[in-house]
Amino acid sequence: MRRRVAPYFLLGPGAAWLLLFFVVPLYYLFELSLNAGVFGSYHFDWHWANYSDALSLYDTQFERSFLYAGLATLFALLLAYPLAYTIAFKAGRWRNVMLFAVVAPFFTTYLIRTLAWETILSDQSPVVKVLDTLGLAPEGHVLATGGAVIAGLTYNFLPFMVLPIYASLERIDVRLIEAGKDLYASATQTFFRVTLPLSAPGVVAGTLLTFIPASGDYVNAQFLGSASNQMIGNVIQSLYLKQSDYPAAAALSFVLMAAILILVLIYIRFAGSEALMGEEAV
């Protein structure tokens, strides 16, 4: 008898907290998104028009969010894979130092990190001068462009890409890679037919962990972008906290969550579910 209630007893406080302050609020978000009226007299009215209004008004920001987040995820993957590969197979005694360098940015505040990029990418900075002479900075400035926002997103979520890929590479049995070489596969063939497929769970987890927060982010667009680089997070933040247009903001927030959930479900259908749930959960 004691063994049967014990898990529920242990689970109770945490599950209650998550139900009450995560699941229930999502219901309230949905309810608020169907409110009608003006500020001060919002009332529940099955007002589905909030959704069509919000989507037709802010469709560009939605598209931009997914575009920016998608590109940032792609760039993060291209940067993270060689790094994770180096740490897993080539770093030797430098492994812990490199792993530390990957998580070190987390030890400085997110906002300050992003502001540091504002300094680095400002018009007077040497980095921008170099980019300008290379013809990569149109009209001599990078700040307040879409490129700056994507660069910021790529930087800020890079560790979320590196760590899962490293974890899956590190678990690979080196003998499998050696077997590929013994069977006369070239280094490139071994990589594409052995190493890369075996690290796929890490790549899937990394892309999800990068794409999801990046698509809802509004800090990078706020600091590094201009008015024409606003993402959906900026719209939701401003509607909630500045304009007090709660129903429209709630509708956008709900659509964002639904869109991400659908994307994630499609993605893990192709890539396998253990990546998201973690191997422990199986």
Binding site: L29, L83, I87, K90, F107, A116, V219
Partner: protein
């Protein structure tokens, strides 16, 4: 020349890897460097001259101190609560087979797969409609515990999975009651996991901006202070405090690693490894 090209080709991956590491560290160097800057105006974006004034005046801005203190208080409370209830959840999930286990796993994963702006706005909607909680420190605490729990569970769970349950059986065989067993055997062994989880929770809480932005009311945390100050120019002292937090976290990481090594030594005392120790004296050493 030929040899140099070959070396570059053979080490291409490492070179890219090291460059990416340097790229990750650039902003930290910039933050550190600009903490010694002596800006001409209110904006600390261009290098003017070197000064130590802002390091000696690190805690000289009252609003900044207050925000930092609020953040620390919030992070400590959120860490304690989230670590306690998250550890219990991890124990339930690893050690028991029960109805609803899959649902519980799902409940833990889903907040980690939700954008912060959705969590923040959902909680704000909840607080607005309910009206019983006034926005401020208490709503921040509720929110921070909420988003920390999942991470605590994941970290502690990974530690519990590698746990040798024979050690607990041994304690019971030696007459320890369940509570003593937990206190003297289980807890010390999973302590590095709990400590790691607590550190992660603390880092997440003290760095959180988005969810706090929605649910803070008029309370100001350290990240919220920075966001507010960004429009009118951020004082250099912010960089100084960011670096102090950075060095503090590095030290805590070092301590955690040391503790982990110690715990690994403790668990390595296992029966199957005793056989290597129990080689009779005088036996030829294995070559």
């Amino acid at each position: 020349m030929e040899g140099a090209w070959r070396w570059l080709r053979e080490h291409a991956v490492q070179i890219v890897g090291v460059l990416v590491v340097l790229y990750m560290l650039i902003p930290i160097v910039v933050i550190f460097g600009f903490s010694f800057n002596d800006p001409a105006g209110r904006y600390n974006f261009t290098w003017v001259g070197f000064t130590l004034d802002h390091w000696s005046n690190a805690f000289g801005i009252p609003e900044l101190n207050e925000a930092l203190l609020t953040s620390l208080k919030l992070a400590v409370l959120a860490t304690v609560i989230a670590t306690a209830i998250g550890t219990l959840m991890a124990m339930a999930l690893v050690r028991y087979e029960f109805f609803g286990r899959r649902a519980a796993n799902f409940l833990i994963v889903i907040p980690m797969a939700t954008p912060e702006v959705v969590m923040g706005s959902a909680l704000l909607s909840f607080f607005l409609i309910l009206g019983t909680f006034s926005l401020g420190f208490q709503t921040l605490l509720i929110a921070h515990v909420m988003f920390c729990i999942s991470f605590v569970v994941v970290v502690v769970r990974s530690r519990l999975i590698g746990f040798d349950r024979n050690l607990e059986e041994a304690a019971k065989d030696l007459g320890a009651n369940p509570f003593t067993t937990f206190r003297l055997v289980t807890l010390p062994l999973i302590m590095p996991g709990i400590f790691g989880a607590a550190m992660l929770a603390f880092a997440l809480s003290i760095d959180d901006f988005v969810i706090s932005n929605f649910n803070s009311g008029t309370t100001v945390t350290f990240p919220l202070y920075i966001f507010g100050a960004a429009q009118r120019g951020i004082p250099v002292e912010v960089n100084v405090i960011a670096m102090i937090l950075f060095f503090f976290t590095c030290a805590a990481m070092g301590f955690a690693t040391w503790q982990q090594r110690r715990a690994e030594k403790m668990t390595s005392v296992r029966p199957e490894q005793e056989t290597t120790i129990a080689v009779p004296a005088g036996a030829p050493a294995a070559t």
